[in-house]
């Protein structure tokens, strides 16, 4: 390689890196400015909403879509908030819990699916859903770094945290999906006729399979997050309760019993509602095998209300 070629090539590489690096920071701060205005929508809006209300709420529910769709926290407290987000798991919940105010009494409900606790493959990558605030929040940065999911690209191009969220931000800046002042994070499913038909067909043609795992050793990362949540809650006057929301049919109960046993050992309060509707399993309570309809969700929320409000 002669010197002229080397010089021109290096110039090209440096120019591309420099130009994109500078532009990245401009875009990053612009997106920060815009996204801070977004308080509706699941990707950014709900997180922003949580951040501005976390100091004032007294009941908060965490988990995946089975939290978001099933738990009406308003039934438990008028200052309740549902922070359930599709596709998230224990790492995401634990990180958000650590962002709650210190020394403030709050009830923390974490909805877990017991099978997930025993999956070897769980790597805590759901915490990456918070990467939009990686360079802005120390707790989030620490938790993402902690699971060793180094995203070298994002360390250079900060705005990569907005990957897949750009259109959502722009849309919600100008046309908010809902009025956040009347939103508490709970999104019940109003099942339409087509969805009912699909679920009925599914039940008609599918055989219930016994879906047990080969072994029941709790994933070490999962166990770590359970302990982290427990320690944080104990140190900061919070009541931590883990639950499992109802399932249409839970053919394998080994994971439930093993999970219950482990939580007892580590002294975390846990209630398994997976069979809540086993005696009275009406179709109107369900959207599919794992999601309750709005009617089912209300019955389930009443049950939680009885559990939490009465003794407190």
């Amino acid at each position: 390689m002669d010197k002229t070629n080397l010089k021109t090539t290096l110039k090209l590489i440096v120019c591309i890196l420099l130009a994109t690096f500078i532009l990245d920071k401009v875009i990053y701060f612009t997106f920060n400015f815009l996204s801070d205005k977004v308080l509706s929508g699941q990707a950014i809006g709900k997180l922003n909403h949580y951040i501005i209300t976390k100091d004032t709420i007294d009941v908060v529910a965490f988990g995946n879509s089975r939290t978001n769709r099933h738990i009406n926290t308003q039934k438990i407290s008028s200052s309740g908030f549902n922070m359930g987000v599709d596709g998230t798991s224990i790492a995401y919940s634990a990180t958000l819990i650590k962002m709650l105010p210190k020394n403030k009494e709050q009830i923390i409900i974490v909805n877990v699916d017991t099978k997930n606790a025993f999956k070897d493959s769980y790597s805590g990558d759901d915490v990456n859903r918070l990467n939009v605030r990686y360079h802005r929040d120390k707790i989030i940065k620490r938790e993402i770094d902690n699971v060793n999911l180094d995203d070298y690209i994002q360390k250079f191009y900060w705005s990569k945290g907005y990957n897949g969220k750009v259109l959502g931000i722009l849309k919600n800046v100008f046309i908010p999906k809902y009025d956040y002042r009347t939103y508490y994070g709970y999104d019940p499913i109003y099942v339409n006729d087509t969805q009912k038909q699909i679920f009925q067909n599914y039940l008609k043609y599918s055989d219930p399979e016994v879906d047990c795992l080969d072994s029941y050793t709790m994933n070490s990362l999962y166990r770590y997050y359970l302990k982290e949540m427990k320690v944080f809650c104990e140190e900061n006057k919070k009541k931590l309760i883990l639950i499992t929301a109802p399932l249409y049919r839970d053919s394998c109960k080994e994971d439930n019993s093993k999970f219950t046993k482990i939580l007892k050992e580590i002294d975390i309060e846990y209630y398994d509602y997976s069979d809540l509707f086993i005696e009275n399993n009406l179709m109107k309570y369900w959207k599919d095998e794992i999601h309750l309809s709005n009617e089912g969700a209300e019955v389930f929320s009443d049950t939680l209300q009885e559990l939490l409000v009465t003794p407190l």
Binding site: M1, C15, I16, A19, L23, D24, A43, D86, K160
Partner: protein
Amino acid sequence: MFFNSIDFFIFLLIVFLLYWLVVYKNLKFQNVLIVIASYIFYGWWDWRFLSLIALSTIVDYIVGFRVYETRNLLFKKRWLWVSIVFNLGLLGFFKYYNFFIESWVDLFSSVGYEFQSTRTLQVILPVGISFYTFQTLSYSIDIYRGKLKPTRDFIAFAAFVSFFPQLVAGPIERATNLVPQFLHKRTFTYKTFSYGIKLMIWGFFLKLVVADRAAIYVNAVYNNVDNHDGLTFIAATILFAFQIYGDFAGYSLIAIGVSKLFGFELMTNFKRPYFSASVSEFWTRWHISLSTWFRDYLYIPLGGNRVGKFRWLFNLFITFLISGLWHGSNWTFVVWGALNGLYLTLEILVFKKKRKGLINVLFTFVLINFSWIFFRANSIENAFYIIKKVFTSPGHLYIGSGDDITASLYATLAIAILLVVEMKKEYFNTIFSISNNKSELIRLIGYAVLIYMILYFGVFGKSQFIYFQF
């Protein structure tokens, strides 16, 4: 090692610097470096299968000489058969053994005979085996045909067989094009380098934005066929057409771009296939390296079109049937290949003139999409179920929820960009003007825009390229 992984970028940077700054004065050392790098690249998946590449290299290196030096035509042919049997034997064992055993058992059980025991094996398919076996076969066949002299330089030959940019998913290079490049000194030019980078960026856009965004909707539909209706299957199939194009053309562009960084020229693998006005034209634009391989080493030896009409049509059909089987050991691929063979034979019988115009482009696109149903469906039963739904039950269009909607929106946006860029080249013979602008500043902006589109709209993670499974 995936092209879309940080591991690959670190690997590429190290190899590139060593290649041009340390061993650049010595051709032999450069080739040695390519062989070592290629074996590391491949061994990243499964080092055990390196032995297959090494074995294939040794066998075809020896066979090449034997074929060339043997005067007796019969012995020449026998040596060629050694290469054919060895390479196709490898492919047959690793890729098709279980498929044929299972199909055989199914066939007998359909007529009421049940086997007491069958010997299927837990064989892992070595990545890229279909590609490198075809590449080495072309070397032996071309020597047999007198188109190529065998190389004495074993390292250069090993580099040809294992050249990492195209080792696992092509383009399937001809020995006549690639082997000579390993025997001559490569020179670094800024122009080639920057063009290579540009191809890589566009390739990543096709893979990470077009293909991987489209895949989210396609997988949601095709992996849950019971829950969807005709309109949804049509939308998913159209998206799949762009998914597979983005995935494979993206891979090919990255491979060609990376090769340019090292001073190599690989063949073009895709030429805007969805602008074809007939299926026969489509096959001159889609996976060109494979289509021409089948043309030169199967279709023409069968007689090509220099035979009677019936035999000609049979040659075409059988070539596509085998091409379908090459793609995968599943009946869905066999039907896909047969369907394309059928399209071509019908085109010859029905249309006498070369077809042109937008209507024919759209009609061809529909036919190709119909065949993609078989290519993508998880089973033959699923494919027929989808077709039945398309024609009998349009139903509602599934939009998805949350992330699915966003993914479909990004995919649609990316496809629109792809179509505009390709349309410009196809109909106005100009390529994307920003990244080809004379002004360096504007070119820089062009690169930056593409990089940012990948950053904001791409799917990051280690998603595999579809053609790796073949």
